[in-house]
């Protein structure tokens, strides 16, 4: 086959694929095209469904944390009355939980509930101020809606499953998937070190980035609004519709944490702060009039640094420096 006619044939194949709409099944992640992706050009198989042998499977424990996509089964060997499974993804993921097969006794008091967020010691992340849905809508009960709506999606990179099984032999299987979120708002960081850029594109909402470690934060760039309003009062950020605040606390609920600093002006160039709390949160409040953006890095505070901060500080409230 000559070069030109081969090129024309490839072009023809690509055009036919595009016109038939099958190109939407090509899923290129991290710049790698898998053989399955190449083969699925010629078939109608959804690329998002991995072939059977590549699906990760394991048993679920009564208290568990899952960060990997796959199929998880819990089988009750004895009555399990208080179980919780935490799901976490990358900052730019949202979680999708699908009930595959459920064998529980709803009338006997068994339940499986999905919560849109994390709950720990009664405190919820994201807080009720930061989450788009009211509290009762964040719980999704299998016994009520699981059969008609077998797929539940979270609004951020964390979700939880609560369940109670009274009889031994009851079981259920769920498939956990991670989907892409182009504008992540409300994130729990998996690591004590990293960097992130939070963008709120003209939306009236509040977004929190939670790092459950004592860290030093370095804010590289903050862009609030389109122009710097120098006539704004310097009495803190009260009254400003768009600002970023740094919170520290010992719980998950951002509305119960202590403000460590707040920033209402755009700037370039690093500003750093050490927060010696169990949970450090960068929270951006946005009025919806502008595109707001904050870029920051964070690193774990060493034991010695924490001791030094404790020595320097008189206050009992989480240490700051």
């Amino acid at each position: 086959m000559s070069g030109t006619s081969r090129a024309q044939l490839c072009f023809l194949l690509l055009s036919v694929t595009a016109l038939r709409g099958h190109a939407r099944f090509l899923d290129i992640q991290d710049n790698e095209i898998s053989p399955e992706g190449l083969l699925s050009l010629l078939s109608s198989e959804l690329k998002r469904e991995l072939p059977e042998e590549f699906v990760y499977r394991r048993a679920l424990r009564c208290l568990d944390m899952v960060a990997i996509e796959g199929q998880f089964t819990f089988t009750a060997e004895r009555p399990q009355l208080n179980c919780a499974v935490f799901f976490i993804g990358e900052p730019s993921d949202i979680i999708s939980i699908e009930y595959d097969s459920v064998n529980i006794d709803c009338r006997g008091g068994d339940f499986i509930k999905v919560f849109d967020g994390w709950v720990m010691k009664g405190e919820k992340f994201p807080s009720t101020q930061d989450h788009p849905l009211p509290l009762y809508k964040r719980y999704s009960d299998y016994c009520e809606t699981g059969v008609t709506r077998p797929i539940v999606r979270s609004s951020q990179n964390v979700a939880m499953l609560f369940f109670r099984l009274h009889q031994s032999g009851s079981s259920f299987t769920v498939t956990f998937r991670k989907l892409i979120n182009p504008f992540p708002c409300n994130v729990v960081s998996q690591t004590p070190e990293g960097s992130f850029t939070m963008i709120i594109p003209q939306q009236h909402r509040n977004c929190s980035f939670s790092i459950i470690y004592p860290v030093e934060i370095q804010i590289g760039e903050l862009s609030l609004g389109q122009h710097n309003d120098l006539k704004r009062s310097i009495l803190g950020c009260a009254g400003s519709g768009d600002f970023v605040e740094l919170l520290g606390g010992n719980g998950m609920d951002t509305s119960k944490m202590y403000p460590m600093a707040d920033l209402c002006y755009s700037f370039n160039g690093p500003a750093q702060m050490k927060v010696g709390c169990d949970n450090t949160v960068i929270r951006m409040v946005s009025s919806g009039k502008f595109v707001n953006r904050v870029s920051f890095q964070y690193r774990l505070l060493g034991h010695q640094e924490l001791q030094q901060m404790k020595g320097n500080s008189v206050e009992d409230v989480c240490l700051r420096a």
């Binding site: 024309q8 016109l19 898998s34 935490f86 720990m120 459950i212």
Partner: protein
């Protein structure tokens, strides 16, 4: 290739390819957040008339909806409004449910996240190895 056969080929390709509209619908109707809307839409199906009836009934009440559409009042819309009432009572029951929580320290939570990350990285490495083996064949 000569221009005329090329034009003919492209024309025939364009005429034979056709993307049916049903493929572009969202994968599941779960994208709609309001559960009541969801229930109503599922029951209405593709019948625009029955959907209109349900919409009017929900907003104006069953009797008025029938009057607006000049329809004789029959029993099936009544049944549907009873089901909507059930949905509302379920909503109020769910509001009364105490939120469940779990007592974990941050230390334990951090360890669990670390273990989950190690599991994820190990499996991702396995998957990458399998992909490379496939491509290398």
């Amino acid at each position: 290739m000569k221009p005329v056969p090329l034009v003919l080929l492209i024309t025939s390709v364009l005429l034979t390819t056709h993307v049916p509209l049903s493929t572009c619908r969202p994968r599941d109707l779960n994208l709609i957040n309001n559960q009541l809307d969801d229930v109503l839409l599922n029951r209405a199906g593709d019948d625009a008339m029955s959907y209109l009836l349900l919409y009017l009934q929900r907003n104006l009440g069953a009797q008025k909806a029938a009057d607006v559409l000049h329809l004789p009042h029959f029993s099936t819309p009544q049944l549907r409004s009873d089901n909507s009432l059930e949905e509302l009572t379920e909503f109020s029951k769910r509001n009364d449910d105490p939120p469940i929580s779990i007592d974990l320290t941050f230390h334990l939570l951090r360890n669990m996240i670390e273990m989950a990350r190690i599991e994820n990285q190990r499996e991702q490495a396995e998957l990458n190895r399998k992909y490379l083996d496939e491509v290398g064949k």
